[in-house]
């Protein structure tokens, strides 16, 4: 038999996204495109106040409007009145108090979105407006009464490690502020809920990061058994952490159950800013003690994360922050105190980088201060301190992951710098861009560095397993998993895995829903490792069954069989048949659950093996700054990232370039501005995201040192790109301007005054 060699979409190839063409052409159905016969629209009434007591709610005006089918409040929630990912402290609808601007108070279902809008306007809520708690320090110092029965401190965690009295001759100190970033996914929250005919259950199509967790929380609030709540993934237009908490899920389902009709809810852009959690603003103080050779001896630190009104994942974000105090550097002694607190600011939770973004902004600022104080250059100071596999971290945990940090730094440093700016550059290449604010002579160039490490998967004893099923029949494979595809590309990767393991080309995947076990969340850079591990495991089990089948037919020990390209071959004999032929009239289906190794809680001193694994990355930023006007153009980012093994080069490059754009946003423009608990810029007119003109040239090196702990040697690549790029850009601005800037995003007035 001759084999026609074609490029197969196996692991290592840049297989194209199965939904790529339809997304580009506008045919892909996002959850907001869903429609059902006889469908109603739902809408949410939200608090205009950051903190107020609800005196009364009068729904009668809304009920009188023709076309309104249902109006609900906290009174109508049949099950648990609150929900939450870690602590169930957030009301489905505010009952006695509203604790942040935008908190849901009531919801309506009606025949048209405009009818909904009028119904919401007709609901009369009488509030006793209270003074909001907006300063996180006032949550800590107990100057204020608790604004929630669970208290104003969501979690405090200290880390005490080594000799706390250790001293060293060089001491540098800084206080760093990180603004509130929004995930700003393009596809706003939306769901379509369809009640079962018997009224005993519900099917919900929703854009989410974790179907099973949504189902668990929804079932409790709806007072339904979990099996009566079936979730199907609606087309997701980005997530970045903002879909980890539920938003409109319970509201939509409840309206559908009350009306016995399908109900669709969809947030507009402004509502979306109030409908999901944001990145925690944080203030971090650090003091580094080092020897004159630059080696870190001790770090003292204090973290304050503003969690906003409800806890969401604040306690886990705090842990990520404090346990990454040292960054990717050795540190024998540490004293860290960290708080995640409750305020009447918008709730904060998961966002790409999850607490490590904030820690990294501080520790990289400190490394640059250390470089200045010791007279060692910023690359060398980092190289002297880098952490290695086998080193003990400040939690007492031994770093077991492959840690090619030196390669990350050296390969980044070796990349070419951009050319000097031309004498007469194109106006769009200057800071200020189309505004034509600058001339060549107004521009100063700067270079800065950022290096980071990021934990992968969930921590602190959490078993965030993933499940996958593989069915092989007649040379075709169908995969089943509940892994949320939010744009990261698991629907591309999963078939690549099956093609590589099983030697088939025709691989499809079933609807992504709750009709199989949990996949865990699409977050924490975990799905390639976890759901990839589950698909890999299921495919390997199927392969064993196929070998048994072929072995029995041909009288060969199955252990001698292997897959070679698309064939089953006898490794020490002559048998060679195609997988297609070998699986004709043969069907096998296997389900596999992948669990990562167990982790532990931290003790009171912050000691414990709390993390699963780590990935590393280095960023070098080159910026042009108009110092007088305080405007910045990021010219180039060079990066070398520890990826373990590249399973799809194009996908990895996409993650790296996208993450850099998001980190650039935090460095120079993206911030939700909150004054006294009031959000000032809930729109894309005023919450600025980088455009193509703001995006820099990106030079990428993917460092491949397969990690033996990872199922396919591959580390998650989603978060690392956006973490140290932010401090690298800010360092480059400091380098260009000579100014001490310890906050991000950097505003024009931070540079020019």
């Amino acid at each position: 038999m001759t084999i026609t060699k074609t490029q197969r979409d196996i692991l290592g190839s840049s297989a194209l996204r199965p939904d790529g063409v339809s997304k580009v052409q506008g045919d892909f159905a996002f959850s907001s495109d869903l429609h059902a016969e006889n469908m109603l629209w739902g809408a949410t009434l939200r608090s205009p106040h950051p903190y107020a007591r609800i005196i009364s709610i009068d729904l009668s005006g809304a009920w009188k409007i023709a076309g309104v089918e249902c109006v609900i409040t906290a009174e109508d929630v049949p099950g648990q009145l609150t929900y939450g990912l870690i602590s169930e402290d957030q009301p489905v609808f505010a009952k006695d108090f509203v604790r942040y601007m935008g908190e849901p108070v009531a919801a309506v279902a009606a025949d048209h979105p405009e009818t909904c809008r009028r119904a919401l306007a007709a609901i009369v809520v009488v509030y006793e407006v209270l003074t909001p708690l907006t300063n996180p320090e006032h949550a800590i110092d107990e100057a204020r009464e608790p604004i929630h029965p669970d208290g104003n401190i969501i979690r405090r965690q200290q880390i005490i490690h080594g000799d706390v009295n250790a001293t060293a001759p060089i001491v540098v100190e800084g206080t760093y502020d990180i603004g509130m970033q929004d995930q700003a996914f393009l596809g706003t929250e939306s769901a379509l809920a369809i009640p079962d005919h018997d009224g005993a259950g519900i099917e919900v199509f929703v854009a989410t990061q974790w179907l099973h967790e949504d189902r668990k929380q929804m079932a409790k609030c709806l007072a339904l058994p979990e099996e009566k709540v079936r979730l199907v993934l609606g087309g997701v237009g980005g997530a970045f952490g903002a879909r980890e908490d539920i938003s409109l899920q319970v509201h939509t389902a409840l309206l559908a159950m009350r009306t016995s009709r399908p109900v669709k809810m969809q947030y507009g852009r402004e509502e979306s800013f109030f409908g999901h959690v944001h990145r925690h603003p944080a203030q971090i103080w650090m003091r580094h003690h080092a020897n004159t050779d630059g080696r870190i001896v001790k770090i003292e630190a204090r973290f304050v994360f503003d969690g906003g009104a409800y806890s969401s994942t604040s306690s886990a974000v705090l842990i990520n922050g404090v346990t990454h105090t040292q960054g990717p550097y050795q540190c024998p002694n540490a004293i860290v105190d960290g708080y995640a607190v409750r305020t009447n600011n918008p709730p904060c939770g998961a966002m790409r980088g999850f607490g490590v973004v904030q820690a990294c902004f501080a520790h990289e600022g400190q490394m640059d201060k250390l470089a200045v104080a010791t007279g060692i250059d910023e690359v060398e100071i980092r190289l002297r301190n880098i952490i290695h596999t086998g080193d003990t971290m400040i939690t007492g945990q031994v770093l077991e992951s492959v840690a090619p940090l030196e390669r990350c730094i050296r390969e980044t440093a070796a990349m070419p710098l951009p050319r000097e700016m031309e004498a007469h550059p194109h106006e769009l290449d200057l800071p200020g861009g189309s505004g034509r604010t600058a001339d060549r002579r107004n521009i100063v160039r700067g270079i800065g560095w950022g290096v980071s490490m990021k934990n992968l998967m969930y921590s602190e004893g959490f078993d965030d397993y993933s499940t996958a099923r593989c069915t092989l029949t007649n040379g075709s494979v169908e995969l089943k998993f509940a892994t949320s595809e939010v744009g990261q590309g698991f629907v591309t990767l999963a078939p690549q895995i099956a093609r590589s393991v099983l030697g088939v080309d025709n691989v499809t995947y079933d609807t992504i829903d709750t009709q199989i076990g949990s996949a865990g969340s699409t977050s924490a850079s975990r799905q390639t490792w976890m759901s990839g591990g589950a698909v890999d495991g299921a495919c390997r089990m199927v392969r064993e069954r196929l070998f048994e089948h072929v072995g029995a037919l041909h009288g060969i020990d199955p252990l001698r069989l292997a897959i070679d390209d698309t064939d089953v071959v006898d490794t020490i004999g002559s048998l060679r048949i195609t997988v297609q032929e070998a699986s004709t009239n043969f069907t096998v289906s296997e389900t596999f659950e992948y669990h990562h190794r167990p982790t532990q809680d931290l003790d009171d001193n912050g000691q414990g093996n709390c993390h699963v694994a780590f990935a590393f990355v280095a960023h070098r930023a080159v910026v042009d700054v108009d110092v007088e006007l305080g405007l910045v153009k990021v010219v180039q980012i060079a990066t070398a990232q520890d990826v373990g093994r590249v399973l799809n080069p194009m996908s990895v490059i996409g993650q790296i370039e996208g993450g850099i754009a998001q980190g650039l946003g935090l460095a120079v423009m993206e911030e939700i501005i909150v004054t006294n608990g009031i959000v000032r810029n809930p729109s894309f007119t005023d919450y600025l995201l980088p455009t193509a003109l703001d995006a820099p040239q990106v030079l990428i090196s993917m460092i491949e040192e397969p990690d033996p702990q990872a199922p396919m040697g591959a580390k998650g690549v989603g978060e690392a790109p956006c973490i140290s790029v932010t401090p690298a850009i800010v360092a480059a601005i400091r380098n260009a301007t000579g100014k001490s800037i310890d906050r991000c995003p950097v505003r024009p007035q931070d540079i020019c005054f």
Binding site: G432, G435, R436, T437, V668, P748, Q749, C752
Partner: protein, 277 residues
């Protein structure tokens, strides 16, 4: 909701008289944002995009004026003959939103909305543009300085429609610069248009006051100094004077202090560009 699409100015003004609460729309780049934010709930809309003379522009070198219909999109001003005749307007047009917005948005909208952050308005101010207004029974022409009377307030009467502007040509350099916290597609934090005509400087400031501000005192000062005497330090002082004429506020986009600083810097730089020093 009725949407009228008149094909002549006469029909349009008559429709507006008969429907005094109607909202006027051309590109919709302002109105639809207002609607989406629930700030406006139009019951009747009159679309002006099918009125031929509103789409028309011409350069009359003999009379030394450019006429631009109120529905001519910014995209048309960015390049070509209009851009050659009015370089500052072209530069302002290039800063408006995205290509999609520039294909739809027009001067009629900027004038109708009259936001101090309207990108084209400092240019219309510095170039002494005349705004043409028509009702069913009247027609009048108003200098821009009398047209804009406050933030989002103008002297257009409820029954009037803006048909276009007439912009006198200048015989010297003209330019525009705008600060935003993003390199494109951003609302102005501060903007300046500077134009030179017959050796005299005119300067207009955007986003730093309740209206577009003409820097009259700064103009008088620099014109008394004389363009031939402009040095970097003179330009610096010009910037200081412009800065003093601005009246900005703090808001979520920026601070008054920064805006004041920024218009001064822009004025200095534009003057140096204007005298090529």
């Amino acid at each position: 909701m009725p949407v009228f699409i008149p094909s002549s100015l006469t029909d349009a003004t008559r429709l507006l008289s008969n429907n005094p609460s109607a909202h006027l729309v051309t590109g919709g780049t302002d109105l639809m944002v207002e609607v989406n934010f629930n700030h406006r709930h139009p019951e009747t809309v009159i679309s002006l995009r099918k009125i031929p003379e509103f789409q028309h522009w011409n350069i009359d070198n003999k009379s030394g004026v450019v006429h631009i219909g109120s529905s001519v999109p910014y995209a048309t001003m960015e390049h070509g003959e209009l851009a050659q005749a009015l370089p500052a307007l072209a530069e302002a047009a290039r800063t408006v939103g995205s290509p999609q917005i520039r294909a739809a948005g027009s001067l009629g909208g900027n004038l109708g909305t009259c936001s101090p952050a309207g990108d084209s308005l400092p240019v219309l101010s510095a170039l002494n543009a005349i705004v043409h207004l028509h009702s069913e029974t009247t027609s009048r022409s108003v200098p821009f300085a009398e047209f804009m009377v406050g933030p989002k307030r103008n002297s257009r009467l409820p029954n009037e429609i803006i048909s276009g502007v007439t912009i006198p040509l200048t015989n010297g350099w003209q330019g525009y610069a705008k600060v935003g916290v993003r390199n494109a597609m951003v609302i102005s934090v501060a903007s300046v248009c500077l134009a030179i005509h017959d050796g005299n400087v005119r300067v207009a400031l955007g986003s730093v006051g309740p209206t577009i501000i003409r820097g009259s005192e700064s103009e008088a000062w620099i014109n008394s100094v004389g363009l031939e005497n402009v040095t970097p330090s003179v330009a610096q002082e010009f910037g200081e004077r412009v800065r003093a004429e601005s009246r900005p506020i703090d808001d979520h986009r920026s601070t008054a202090e920064y805006r004041r600083h920024a218009v001064g810097v822009l004025a200095t730089r534009l003057l140096l560009r204007g005298v090529q020093r």
